[in-house]
């Protein structure tokens, strides 16, 4: 067997150079066939805002905006352009009709190609470890850590902590949509100094001598989780599951097309019920290590193992099913979004697009 850590032989190197070269040529050729590939189009929309009265902004169109500025030379105004991704077929239709506002978006098109490159870079690991894979791996580590940090800051720390402690500052610079609390509420909100202090203590973990400070927030985290889980698991998993298991073993069948079928389905569904209860008991017998697995307990434990084996087999089957779906999704990205080989969501077929656009 070839070990992935061995250096490449000259022959392997040549083979890969050929494969890579042919792929690049094919991609270049694909770029010039038909409508090409891997392009993202956007439709710019200009937005205009004017401050009609203090802190009350009005959205307007270009003509209204010009009039507003002429009438209120001192009023504050804002304007920007938003870019909305549109299906390529909208652009093709526009070209056929002889012009319009839809344009090719370079940042998004380059992004799409970067996405495709990263996808292939990760798959290149299947052949062997290589710098492209390592690079992609490093990128994902850096980006995801920053991603979580940013989202944690803007979605939780800002509205749930900073806004409560510094409502005036937050309203002016961060969360203008949130009203200032009454002075009474603002006083009670001082309680949020506790999570702030605990949070800062948690970050002290990064400082060599401040490690012990993080024990307090850690103790709080562990304690609240322990309390929550104790109740949650006892109620939801232990009591509920035991209660459901203690149910009638006789289950009337659902098929009343004939007497035979009624008896038959009753036997079948009652058997399921018996097998279920029996299985739970046998598996529990297997987990029960205080008694030696001998005699009746031993027999039950053995049946318990069979049940568990079936459970693991099912888990394996479902896991495989899941992984393949993820792989299929990535292939669809390459074939559909990037290479434009297939078009299942009708993004590029012009014939259907024309009536939508009223052309």
């Amino acid at each position: 067997m070839n070990s992935v850590s061995e250096p490449m032989t000259p022959r392997q190197r040549a083979t890969w150079a050929v494969i890579l070269g042919v792929s690049i040529i094919l991609i270049v050729v694909r770029c010039f066939i038909g409508q090409g590939m891997g392009k993202v189009y956007v439709e710019p929309t200009d937005l205009y805002f004017g401050e009609a009265s203090p802190s009350t902004w009005t959205t307007m169109d270009e003509a209204q905006f010009d009039r507003f500025r002429a009438d209120n030379p001192d009023a504050r105004t804002e304007q920007w352009t938003e870019y909305r991704t549109v299906p390529p077929k909208a652009y093709f239709a526009q070209e056929q009709a002889g012009g319009g506002s839809i344009i090719l978006s370079w940042p998004r098109t380059i992004g799409l190609w970067i996405g495709a490159f990263f996808t292939l870079a990760i798959y290149s690991f299947l052949y062997r470890d290589n710098p492209f894979y390592k690079f992609a791996e490093s990128v994902v580590v850096g980006v995801s850590a920053a991603y979580w940090m940013v989202v944690g800051f803007w979605d939780t720390i800002v509205p749930n902590l900073i806004q409560r402690l510094l409502p005036g500052f937050a309203q002016e610079y961060l969360t203008p949509g949130m009203a200032l609390p009454s002075s009474e509420v603002q006083f009670t909100n001082l309680i949020y100094l506790i999570p702030l202090v605990l949070g800062v203590m948690l970050i002290c973990r990064l400082v060599p001598k401040g490690g012990w400070l993080s024990l307090w927030p850690l103790a709080f985290i562990v304690g609240t989780m322990a309390g929550l889980r104790l109740v949650g698991y006892t109620e939801g998993d232990l009591l509920s599951q035991v209660r459901i298991t203690i149910s009638s073993l006789y289950v009337p069948g659902g098929d009343d097309s004939s007497t035979f079928m009624m008896i038959w389905t009753t036997i079948w569904s009652s058997l399921a019920s018996v097998l279920l209860v029996l299985g739970v008991l046998c598996c529990l017998a297997y987990f029960f290590f205080s008694v030696e697995h001998k005699g009746a307990v031993g027999g039950a434990a053995r049946v318990g193992i069979w049940y568990l084996m079936i459970t693991f087999g099912a888990a394996f089957g479902f896991t495989v099913m899941g992984r393949i779906a993820l792989l299929a999704a990535r292939f669809e990205f390459l074939f559909d979004d990037w290479l434009w080989l297939i078009d299942p969501t009708n993004q590029r077929r012009l014939a259907d697009a024309l009536p939508i656009l009223g052309l």
């Binding site: 949509g177 479902f318 080989l341 297939i342």
Partner: protein, 348 residues
Amino acid sequence: MNFLNNLDRRWIFLAMALCVGVPILVIGLTGYTFPETPTPLAEAFFDEVDVAGEAKGRRANVLLAFDFDPASAGELNPMAVSLVHQCAQKGHRMYFISLWPVGPQMIMDAVNKVIKVHYPEMVYGEDYVNLGFKAGNEQVIKVMGVDLTTEFRTDVEGTTLSQIPMMSGITNLEDFDLIAEISAGYPGSKEWVLYASTQFNIPLVSGMTGVQAPQLYPYFPNQLKGLLGAIKGAAEYEYLVNQWVRLDKLTGILEQAGLPPGEAGPLAAEFAASPDQVSTWTVSAAASTLSPEAKAALIEAATEPIPGEYLEGQRRMGPQLFAHLLMVFLIILGNVIFFAQRRRGGGS
């Protein structure tokens, strides 16, 4: 035999790539998908969403928790899209939240695919709202059980909740008629079962990855009213929703044309059962009273192709078939080699 035993695993990788890639290309070019037979679990999921709010005789408030990320979107996105599709067609009020940092993007994706394109009449803040992500895993559920508005104080756009019309009357989890959750792991279905459905007795349905599904079966049908497992569950549910939406549209047209609701429903069901007979229905006795416009609308609704985004799960069942066959073949082949060698090696 020796060659097979020493087979470079990269040949297996290639076989897997072909088993997945070729069907995607073929299905993408032909548009053919395999027929789906919904299982009782998917039907239970569908029914639970369908009847939400009926017991209280009001427009349902549905909490949609999208606890997943792009890593599992291949399995879960079709579920999320179909769920929004069903809720939108049914006219439920949708409250989106997420316990995963990337969840808001998943919400945006489903909203853009379904509501923005196919239900543009739905108004943000009145028919649906995106409350975004909050850190804290199951503790977020715990706080929501007592008071939702102290945890989710604004929507993703930063608008305070009191200014969002559909938030009036919502204080905690008990104000929702249904929780519909899509889960990729922790925090996910299990946490919603333990801290929402068990503690507050709120109906919960959940779609989840293949890895989680077997672990959640014991909760069905008591603590979990409906369960969609992996891409198979997604495809089944998608099929159910697509069938129902078509039926609902046909019923709507018949009712609009003046048929009493008691007659329109069964007639639409009859039509929906045989869409290829569309030309014969419109001349049948049952439809004889309809206006030509209603007949035209009926034909259009019956023959209109299902948009591609509503077939994602069913399309993905194609590569799934060949990859599963490959897996079975590989396991059998591995065992054949193993036993052949053991026999040759004298049972050593």
